[in-house]
């Protein structure tokens, strides 16, 4: 697990996301990512939420500080049996797994991406 040394990954379940308003979701994600953490959403954001996420990300960018986000989505096929699904309580979801991280840690996120892909594909 050398790859993930020093990086905190926070998983947010679909259930929790469902209970939040658009702004609460965006705040939760950005506050976490701005601390240097990587956030995994069990359920993807709606297009309007994505649009607002971009807008608010832009407002938070500061010289020599936060420089924005990197975001990837992954389709979930067998979410019901996967490691991640078990971790999140085995709730099945058709929506896409979304990984969001700080843009200046792109390299880390790329590595994490492989790891996350591995988690997703190991479910088959």
């Amino acid at each position: 697990m050398e790859m993930i040394q020093g990086v905190q990954i926070d998983l947010i379940s679909a259930e929790r996301l469902d209970r939040l308003t658009a702004m609460e979701k965006i705040r939760l994600i950005l506050d976490d990512v701005m601390e240097g953490n990587i956030v995994i959403l069990e359920k993807g954001l709606a297009p309007d939420e994505q649009s607002k996420l971009i807008e608010i990300t832009m407002r938070e960018i500061a010289p020599d500080g936060f420089s924005g986000i990197e975001m990837e989505t992954y389709p979930i096929r067998d979410a019901g049996n996967g490691f991640l699904a078990k971790l999140l309580g085995g709730k099945r979801s058709e929506t896409r797994l979304t990984v969001i991280g700080p843009a200046n840690q792109l390299k880390t996120l790329k590595k994490e991406k492989d790891l996350i892909s591995a988690w997703v594909s190991s479910s088959r």
């Binding site: 994505q50 832009m58 960018i61 010289p63 924005g68 990197e70």
Partner: protein, 213 residues
Amino acid sequence: MTFLVRTKRKISGLLKALFKKRTCRIGIYGPPNAGKTTLANRIVRDWVGDAVGPVSEVPHETRRVRRKEDITITGQNGSSITIDIVDTPGVTTKIDYNEFIEFGIEKEEAVKRAREATEGVAEAMHWLREDIDGVIYMLDSTLDPFQQVNIMLVGIIESRKLPVLIVANKNDLPDASPARIKSAFPQHPVIAISGLEGNNVEELYEQMTSYFG
């Protein structure tokens, strides 16, 4: 002129303004450096005679949304539309002022540009949610179209049920691949052009008159 006549004129003017259908606003969206301003300038030059804004190889040259009103475009088949062209800053999820420093720009100016660029992106997103009626989504066809930001933006545009024409730009370059763009967005018409050289822009104008008409 009597008061009554003046009032009458005012009222009829108001009524006209009220009932005149607002001109269709077509936003040009896409990542930085796709060639949005180059195309906006070409459209305006071809149909009106002046320009929208400066073009540059430095990303984020366009840091404000710019609108050019009442452009009438006529297709080869003779049908025409009148639109406003809205040139937008390139949409991205990250901006670092060091990007500008790499182009030899001083730190102070780079920081200023970065801040303007972030405001411009936020503005462009706002326009998309509130004020845009159709989209030309521009991509540099020498680059990978499967970037998350493109998938996300096209998804946002689709969710707003706006008509979208995808432009595979820079088809004058040897490694241009409009086919790759077609495979990324099979649900929308894709038109390969060179905004710089003018290759195939007639086809784009034709499509615009039927698609946004």
